[in-house]
Amino acid sequence: MSAVGPAAERVEAAIAATERLNPTLNAYLHVDLEGARAAAAEVDAIDAARGAIADAERRAGGSVGPARPLAGMPVCVKDIVDVAGMPTTAGAADWVRHPDEDATVVARLRAAGAVVVGKGNTNEFACGIDGRNPHKGDCRNPWDPARLSGGSSSGPATTVAAGMAAGAVGSDTSGSIRVPAALCGVVGIRPTRGLVPTDGVVPLAWSLDAVGPLARDVATAALLLDVLAGRPPAPAPRPEVGGLRLGIATALMDLAEEPVLDALGAAAAGLRGAGAAVVDCELPDLEHATGIHRIVQACEVAAAHAPWFERQRDRYAPGVRARIEAGYALSAETYLRAQRHRRLFTRAFAAAMNGLDAVLAPASPVLAPPIEAEEVTVRADRRPVRAALLSCVAPLSQLDCPIVTVPAGIREGLPVGLQLIGRPGSEALLLRIAAAVESNGGPIGPTSL
């Protein structure tokens, strides 16, 4: 019997978890287990050859380059992102493409040694925040399969939380990395817009879409971000926050239920204990910002779907069709007026951050709702699930800045996620803060399913 290498061991563990849990969680829409095994064997063979060369080089007084940063890491790719040899269905009914080439982000993952296990579930065309999918089946929360996973990057968050992948690629237009990361208890990064390429990704709204990583801990998420961005990996973020000044977004805290507030309060106390100043912070009008965001997204999603809208019209779920079709009725003037207001909002937000290094906010105002729930109670009011889950993320999505979601604890047996919002290009700083939050409680996965 031949020896099993470390990449094969990691990939076999993810495959075993997938075979055991995917029938319940429906987190992968497509898997290529034999392809993953073959890729892992190739990674091990390359590493073994590198080891032999390195030994010879060392004996000769030289050296070989560093090992590939993601060698043998099993990954899940959201099913709006092209992976050569796998179908891209976007979670839609009767819509599929068969790419010959990887999206740039997938090519970068593979070049770094990652192994693609499969394509992760998503709301139809990434158009949703709850992880439900009437065509492919709902993705279920790995902490409690009777609850929502959040979406639209539902499969990426769930596979990572359940050990079916060690890392994942998702996308975030209105909160689609941050909300499932929060509800599933993993780290998710919406990068500065433009840092990670979006080619080979089915668009939702061009000026809002961001592709980013999800992982169980901050160090892995940071490493994945560097690979996705095509830059050399930086050292793992250190939990150093001494001297930082952090603002708590009181307007968003006021939207959250008590278990979320309790966990975020504990996280803020931990940051104070680690030497950061944590102060209240007043943000510009977030309700106004949500309106801007909805108009921009409606116009852009209508344009993105124009090539296939008529053909697809009767296949969309009614609510998704309504959100796309309504966009066709808005004028170019309305779209541009919203984009001009967006610029004013961005300036106002930047001004609100004067004297602050980052802003803290809940990623979701509630714990993961029951999967059949249409409404949830938030601060004694009944609200549609969609509106509630979007409330803390959508208004921030148009800022073009990085936002990290990090687990801030467990309440009532379910994870709570904290958003860290920073200036464009400040991912490294946000990941230091995230590492400090994590060091208070440690990574909270995998789930015990």
Partner: protein, 44 residues
Amino acid sequence: MMPRPDDPDALVAAELAELEALAAALSEGEVDGVPPVQGPQDWE
């Protein structure tokens, strides 16, 4: 009144009515002379 979830035309009409109300709240005067958003550089 909420439209029936299985009536696509009513859902489109309801969504459009919401968007038009949101658009009406975005005043023209407030953005007089302001160009559309550019991206991360708008923070500078």
